[in-house]
Every structure is written in structure tokens, then in C-alpha cells.
Amino acid sequence: MFGKKKMGLILAGVLSLSLLAGCGNGGNAATATGEAKDTKAGAATGTTEISLYTGGSLNVKELWETLIKDFEAKNDHVKVKLVYLPAGTGGASTLDRLIAAKKSGQTDTDIDLYEGSLDDITKGVGEKLWETVDTTKVPNLANVDETYLKQVNNQAIPYRASSVVLAYNSAKVATPPKTADELYTWIRQHPGKFAYNDPSTGGSGSSFVNTVIYNFLPPEAMNSDDPANMKKWDQGFSLLKELGPSMYQKGVYPKKNQGTLDILASGEVDMVPAWSDMALEQLAKGLLPDTVKLTQIDPAFTGGPSYLMVPSLSSKKEATQEFLNYVLTPEAQTVVINKMYGYPGIKWSLMPSELQEKFNSVSSGYRSFNSGELQQEIYKRWQSEVAGG
């Protein structure tokens, strides 16, 4: 009895296995032909699909959706697939994936274009992760300011930028400070009317702190991670400490970039450092009263571009270059400005004149700041000496 049952089971097993195998074969064959058809169709119309990996806030996603739609309307042979990973969820893992692919000797990856920061470029340089871009491949690169390209050794394209500016309530402040020293004098003369956010919680506050410290150092120190510079911070920190009691509520530093904009909007303070794109967007949406104006001081606050990188493992570089070329046209850059309230990645002089006029107050530029791990040391020292002092 038992033996027969067992036999039956085995038979059934063998049968189902062969059935499965048969199905598998059939399935494979079907997909294979399907793929062949697809490729043929692709070859006939010449359509290549590239994928763009991007992160950041929702407005970044919206920007790319608009740009891709415009691009595809003009180009029938390149399709762009947008892979959006919201801030803080998967941006880093995309880079990790690329590095892993490179290290394991893969020759192809599905990431054809990657949007990232200066940090991401540096992380990839050691692994030779990024393709060098130049005008022979992307003619419109000629539109980009050469100094910004040199900073990254032509390994990435700075396609948009923003910087920290001074946002002030023009109803209360008739003549805003023009230089850093004038700003510090203004803060002392108007106690409680200036605020910057806790530097470790947002870029506008950290830009204020960084510029206070590095204005006492030679300009080249701003882009150096030499720990020897730490010894030269004392003057800047003592200025920050001295300004403390003149700050909002005798030394309250709100959290995040939005924290200071909120108290500027409610009229509690008259002047704050703010990201240009953030402030302009909120002005346009009426979240900030229209008495708020923006200005840049001299020496300028820090700022920086967002970059597009082409992974060297991508197999669709030509199509990608075509898309990049489009991103660097004045018309695409106009979308960048209108959607993101950012600075264009290309020279201001190439932009429509009405936009040049509109952004006149903030377009005087910014300084880049990249001191690597020293930034964390600044945060730490700020926390113990300025916040806790």
C-alpha cells in the first residue's frame, strides 16, 4: 500500500516537473521572440530609453517631469525614464549601487544619468565612476561658466544652482547691509531682529556660520579639508559668540532653513540668511509677505550647484548626451528658473533679459564652500561654544 502511494507521488512529481519545464521553455521562447520584436521595433524608429536617477524634494521631481516632457516632444528617438527617490530614502543607495557595479566588474548598468551633489562626485572620482564631459560630446557645455566645470574636472555638469542670500523685511529695513561687516554692525544695532538657524539643521544657517569663520581665512581655505585650518577658526567663533546676545531672543537659533523663514514671515525678526530658491518660491506663493526682499552681501554667502553625472558604465551615452545638450539650452534653463527659482546652470547673459532683471537682486553670485569633514567639526564646536556658551 505504502509503496504504491510513494510511487504515485514520485510519478506525480516527475510529471509536474516536466510540465513545469515545458511551460518554462514555452515561456522563455515567447519572451525571447517578444524581445526580438521589441528590439526590431526600436531599431526601426531608433528609440533609445535612458533612465535618469534623481532625488531631492518634490519640486525636483516636478522639474524633471516638465523638462522630460518638453524634450520628448522635440525628440522622437530618445525616451527618458525618471527614477525619483525622495530625499533621504534612496539617493545614497543609487551611488552605492554604481560603486558596487564598478567594483564587481560589471560592464553595463541601467543608470544612465545621475543627479547629485559635490559630495557624490568626489565619492565617485576614486572609482572612476563618472564619464568626462566636454563640448565635443555636449556642444551646449559652452554655455556653462568654465570655472564651475573646472572645479569638478569636467566630471559633472552643474545644471542649476542656488545660494544663500540675505532675506529682509523692506518695511522695517530701508537700507540693507552691503558687506559682511555692515551686516554684523546691523545685528549689533538691532538686537533680537536677526536670526540664523542651527547650522547642523540646514544649509542657510551653516552658510552664515561658515562665512563668518572663513572670512578671516584666505579664500583658498574655503575649499580645503586641511585640518590645520581648524586652528584658524578662533576669530570667527569669537565673533559668533559676541553676536549671540544680539540674536533673536538673545541667542535662539531655530531649527531648519524653514525655522528662520517662519519668524521672518510672522514679523518677529527683520533679517535672516535664506536659500535663494526657497525664499523666491515662498515669495511667489505668498508664504512670505511681499515686503520681504532678497540681497547678496560682499563677500557673498556660500552656495552651490546641483550636478548631473554620466556613469561611465552606461551603455547609452549618446542618447544621454543629447538629453544633456537640451538641459543646457536657455529654454530648458528658463524652466529651471521658473520651477525651482534657482540660478541657471548656464551663464546669466544667455538667459532672457526679463529673467535677468527679475533675478537681479540675487544673481551676483556665491562662493562655494567644501571643507569635507571639517564641516562636522564646525557644527560640534558651534554647538558647544555658541549654542551652549
Binding site: K255, G267, Y379, G388
Partner: protein, 280 residues
């Protein structure tokens, strides 16, 4: 196999899934955090450097004392207020009691971030409270936001409804007969509370205290948004150490310290429960 050992096996099999979950989501992470916290921040060697830093660095020590202070004060205030409220709801009568009974748990349905922003717009320097007091000639209100007071206020807002709900359910099970007969025998209100109500709801009170304490100890959103820049509560300081300074090992040491504080509380809780079980 005997039927008793079979039943034993079944019992074990039923316990294993929950034990595995406990192992994966609680025990292993704690052990991992302990291990991480012992690794030196700069080298790979093991040692107590992170803990030494925790207790010797003045800023860090201030943070710890501040956290314990905020937690104890908030817990005590929450307990007193919710006990009073629960008793009022249990023994009070009338229209007001009915409406308080319907509305007191509303804050539990308001997400933390939104409640925190509500506190900012209400008690901020130019907030609603300041504007409402302006016609009365009061021009400056004390600083509540970005201060100790604001933090305690937020903790009360978050915890009173929950504690009141727990205590109300305990008080509901006290028979009216007990209260009435005690009253007849001439017990004062204070005696009534100390001799009857408190002992009968003592166990639930410990549950409430434990949960309030742990919740406040580990809170982040409100202290991050309306707390002072310095000192900070441990939750905020830990986030800063972890993501702004990227000192993961020091952050682990802080987590272990926080865990020890909470397990101290847990010890009292379990002791009360065990005593209670023995008594019955």
C-alpha cells in the same frame, strides 16, 4: 510521546514565533547597540571611551541632566493632572463632565508635528496668546517656545489624554458602593483617595507612569522644533551626534544610556506587577 510532553511541545511552538520577533526586533538590536557603543570612535579597538565622553563632556552632561529633569517634571505633572481629571470624570456629574469626557482624548488624534506647530503659533513671540493679551495691556508674555516651559507644555499636551484614559478605565471599575459606604462611615475626601481610590488604581497608575516616562525620555519631534539650542534632550542630541557629526558609536552609547534609564523604570513596573500577582 506522552500527552503532557506533547502539550509542552505545542506550548513551546506557540511561544517561538513571538520570541523570535522579540529576538529580532528588540534583543539583537540592543546587543548590537551595546557592541557598537564599545567601539572607539576613531580606532577599531574596544573600550569605554564613548561612555567616558558621555559623562565627562560638560555639554553632554548638561544634556543628560536636562533630559532627566524634563522627563521627571513632565511625568509628575502629567500624573497629577490626569489623576485629578480622571477622578473628576468618574465622580463628577453634569453637562461639563459629559463634554470633557467626550473631548479629552482629541489630542491623541493630532499628529505630533502638527501639535508642535500649533504650540508655536499659539505661544510664539507674536503668536495667538500674545495677540489676545494685547488688548488687556499685556505686551510681553514670558518666553515659552525654545524654552524649558514649552517643552514641558508639549509633553503635557501629548501625555495627559493617554494617562487620563488609562486611569479612567481603572477608576470605572471601582464600585460606587465602596465610595458611598466609605463616605457614610465619615471618610474625608483625602482619606477616600488615599485609602480606597489610590490602592484600587495603583497598578494602572504604574502602567501610566511607565509609558509616560519612556515616551518623554525618547521624544524627538517637539523637543527638536521647540526646544532650546542648548541644553538639548537626549533624543535631539543623539540625532545630532548621529547624523550631523556622524559619530555613530557615541550615538550608540547615548542610546544604551537611554535604554538603561528606561529599564530602571521598567524594573519598578515589573516589580509592582510581580508583587501584585503574588498577593493574588
Amino acid at each position: 510521546m506522552s500527552s503532557s510532553s506533547k502539550r509542552g511541545m505545542l506550548g513551546l511552538a506557540l511561544v517561538i514565533p513571538s520570541f523570535l520577533i522579540l529576538l529580532v526586533v528588540v534583543i539583537i538590536p540592543i546587543l548590537y547597540a551595546v557592541k557598537e557603543s564599545l567601539i572607539d570612535q576613531h580606532g577599531t579597538g574596544y573600550g569605554l571611551a564613548n561612555y567616558i565622553r558621555l559623562f565627562t563632556e560638560p555639554a553632554m552632561r548638561k544634556n543628560m541632566i536636562y533630559t532627566i529633569n524634563v522627563t521627571l517634571v513632565s511625568t509628575a505633572l502629567t500624573l497629577v493632572i490626569s489623576y485629578a481629571l480622571a477622578i473628576y470624570l468618574r465622580f463628577g456629574k453634569g453637562f461639563v463632565v459629559k463634554w470633557i469626557g467626550r473631548l479629552y482624548f482629541v489630542p491623541m488624534f493630532v499628529p505630533g508635528v502638527i501639535a508642535t506647530y500649533a504650540i508655536i503659533t499659539m505661544y510664539g513671540n507674536h503668536g495667538w496668546a500674545a495677540r489676545l493679551l494685547l488688548p488687556l495691556g499685556i505686551e510681553t508674555i514670558p518666553r515659552i517656545i525654545y524654552d524649558y516651559k514649552g517643552l514641558v507644555l508639549a509633553n503635557l499636551w501629548f501625555n495627559i489624554p493617554f494617562a487620563t484614559m488609562l486611569l479612567s478605565s481603572a477608576l470605572a471599575s471601582i464600585p460606587n458602593a465602596v465610595v458611598e459606604s466609605a463616605r457614610d462611615a465619615g471618610a474625608s475626601t483625602l482619606q477616600l483617595f488615599g485609602r480606597f481610590i489610590l490602592p484600587l488604581s495603583y497598578k494602572t497608575m504604574w502602567v501610566a507612569v511607565t509609558f509616560i516616562f519612556m515616551g518623554i525620555m525618547g521624544s524627538f519631534t517637539a523637543p527638536f522644533l521647540i526646544g532650546a539650542n542648548s541644553p538639548q534632550v537626549l533624543g535631539v542630541a543623539m540625532q545630532q551626534v548621529f547624523s550631523s557629526y556622524q559619530e555613530t558609536h557615541t550615538a550608540s552609547a547615548m542610546a544604551v544610556f537611554m535604554f538603561l534609564l528606561c529599564s530602571f523604570m521598567g524594573y519598578f513596573y515589573i516589580r509592582t506587577m510581580v508583587k501584585d500577582a503574588e498577593a493574588s
